[in-house]
Amino acid sequence: MTTRKFFSSPWRTLGFVALLLVTFIWLVPLLTALVTAFRSNDDIMLQGGPFSLPREIVLTNFQTAWERGGLSRYLPNSFIITLPSLLLTLFLSSLSAYALARFRFRGNRLIFFLYVGGTLLPFQVLMLPVFRLTDALGLYDTFAGLIAIHTAFQLGFCTFLLRNYMRTVPGEIMEAARIDGCGEFRIWWQIMMPLTMPAIAALATLEFTWIFNDYLWAIVLLRNDALKPVTAGLATLQGQYIMDWTVIVAGALLATVPTIFVFLFLQRYFIEGLTLGATKG
């Protein structure tokens, strides 16, 4: 409805104002980060802390974070690691999810619990076993090793999530397609996938955020500086004794830009989404 019509109801207007207030409070920490990124450390300390009024605006933190964090070198690496992992895991988990969601077969529950079980283990305990495995396979210090673990590790959660979403699709559609003579793979690709698009888009957003923001796997499985992702580069901004607050915050804000872009790009798929209405058509 139009904006005018929306605000014509007093209750709705009140609700809107309340929402605005809550949102603003919600954003305070982020606004603090934003302001801090434009100050210098000396300024913060001299004025009495991060919540003091800035004496001057400083633009150099972003550049320092970019250079010291080596972002121009590491940003491409982050994408080389994240995108294949993301697409592989979505592809493979949607295959598994389809099988688990729509077919009754022996081992269905066992395999389902196996996938769920994998998400329960904290990854720290997997760190050294996976490191040894990766080294033994000759994949230490390669992109492939990192992509492999990201893909495998996310499979559990993605399969679980997609299986549940796929169960909400009415079975008649698939039955109809089968009767029409469609092969299972075609049904998966042409019917199930489009209908699961909101879930896949939401999942892609989350997975992109997680894989892009990971750095502990990178620390353990990579040694060569040239392969490091952005997060490892930004982590070096933290020193042994000194936290260069303003530069760290500026760097972190820079690192959020790709994930924000992904969110804005994909949100139209899971927020406005494709309407189901399948039974109508």
Binding site: N41, P84, L87, P194, V220, R223, Q240
Partner: protein
């Protein structure tokens, strides 16, 4: 809906293609570094010219020269050390043009985890930064570190390094480690506040208590401290123990040879530390602040003193730094030798390093006068090589050097002198004591149990 489906159908294959492309790029990324070096050579060429002349013509000839490489991983992620580290690498590469240094800086905390992967990988980094003391011994004892006694010999370090540093780097008479830089701990204070209340830097414990009382009467919290990460409290333990019971007892305690429930240990807490807390000489809620956050009180003038390492000045606002000075932790028992904490960082080579010769060259350089001079001048830290020229040091550096040279014994700091597990429990104990000074008896009993487990059950 059909139109949307069509869009989706088109997007997915494109995405797939991108995956394949990126995957191929990833797989094809070369892992080894071979470098082709164009070499300029002047060549004498006879040129047919009406006037007979020989003309020298510089000709660029591409001659592939196999460069050696050395992989160097460093944990110097603090802003200024990081620059100095990079500077040293540049100096090395200039001096040895046929060696390429593959230099990576890793966040300090992460390095402590990653090092275990490094030392056990089939392709480890060659040279790495690390701490002196118990932390290095841990790896040396497991045979993961290369014996570099030959480098010590050829560089003449057996003469140019003080005996203490040499001892620190040796196990069973062989050298494994090169100590390179260190810094001092002291009580930093606001000169201007002291001047305001006509106070002199105290030398004895009685004088120190006087200073605290005067400050408190005038509304200034005497001592600031941020104990969120606990090690700042451990500093107080170190110094009180060394001043009261002497450095030898302190080190024996670190090595597990003395007991935690010994009355000498308890004395530290009941007779000296608890009174400071109970008289309100420390700020409120120290556990809520990191050491950096607690610095704010010193900057604002709400507090006047801070027992801290010299790196404090890196975080202090530049325009206010002139107000800072430091004094030696006050003497409690004049008959006891003077011990100081001076944590030392250095380098070692992985036992399974693949570029041994280049690694030893780099190690030799990092311990040399040239490298250490540069590092000390850049950072205001202190070098380990005695041949470094100290006349150009800043007054603070000179003062720090005197402080340490005037000491009878140098320790590495609580959590580097004792095992990680003991340090963890010990520091928890200090925090608990700070909250509840009366429970120190129980705390020490518990720490003694831990000590026995850690040092005596093997």
């Amino acid at each position: 809906m059909l139109k949307e489906e069509g869009k989706v159908k088109k997007v997915l294959p494109i995405l797939m293609a991108i995956v394949i492309v990126l995957g191929t790029v990833a797989a094809c990324t070369p892992q080894t570094v071979t470098v082709e070096v164009p070499v300029e050579r002047t060549v004498e060429v006879e040129v047919e010219v009406p006037v007979e002349k020989t003309v020298e013509v510089p000709v660029e000839v591409e001659v592939p020269v196999e460069k050696e490489i050395v992989i160097y991983n460093s944990y110097m992620s603090d802003p200024e050390p990081r620059e100095a580290d990079a500077g040293q690498v540049a100096m090395f590469e200039e001096k040895y043009p046929n060696i390429d240094v593959v230099h990576s800086t890793i966040a300090h905390e992460d390095f402590k985890q990653a090092i275990r992967a490094y030392l056990t990988a089939s392709t480890p980094p060659d040279v790495m930064t690390w701490f002196a003391g118990n932390r290095a011994r841990f790896f040396i004892d497991k045979g993961l570190i290369m014996d570099v006694s030959d480098v010590w010999e050829s560089e003449g370090w057996n003469e140019s390094y003080p005996a203490g540093f040499r001892a620190m780097s040796s196990v069973d008479g062989k050298q494994y480690f090169v100590p390179a830089s260190w810094y001092w701990w002291a009580v930093y204070y606001r000169k201007d506040i002291f001047d305001q209340y006509e106070l002199e830097p105290p030398e004895t414990w009685e004088e120190f208590l006087q200073v605290c009382e005067t400050l408190k009467e005038n509304g200034v919290t005497p001592i600031t401290i941020g104990t969120k990460y606990r090690w700042t409290a451990a500093a107080w333990f170190d110094y009180l123990n060394m001043r009261i019971n002497g450095p030898e007892f302190h080190i024996d305690l670190m090595l597990g040879k003395e007991k935690y429930d010994d009355p000498r240990v308890e004395k530290i807490f009941t007779d000296y530390w608890a009174p400071l807390i109970e008289d309100g000489y420390f700020i409120d809620e120290p556990a809520a602040y990191t050491w950096q956050e607690a610095l704010q009180f010193l900057i604002d003038g709400d507090a006047a003193m801070y027992l801290m390492g010299d790196f404090l000045r890196d975080s202090y606002p530049d325009e206010e730094e002139s107000k800072l000075d430091f004094f030696r932790f006050p003497i409690i028992d004049p008959s006891v030798p003077i011990g100081e904490d001076a944590p030392t960082d250095g380098y070692f080579i992985a036992a399974s390093a693949q570029h041994t010769d280049a690694a030893k060259e780099l190690l030799g350089f990092l311990g040399s006068v040239e490298a250490q001079q540069y590092f000390a001048d850049q950072l205001g830290r202190l070098p380990t090589n005695m041949e470094v020229d100290t006349s150009g040091f800043t007054p603070m550096q000179q003062q720090g050097l005197e402080l340490i040279q005037g000491a009878d014994f140098v320790a590495q700091f609580y959590d580097r002198d004792t095992t990680p597990e003991m340090a963890d429990e010990g520091m928890n104990g200090f925090m608990e004591f700070w909250d509840n000074p009366d429970t120190i008896g129980d705390i020490l009993a518990r720490l003694e149990t831990v000590r026995q487990e850690v040092f005596e059950s093997e």
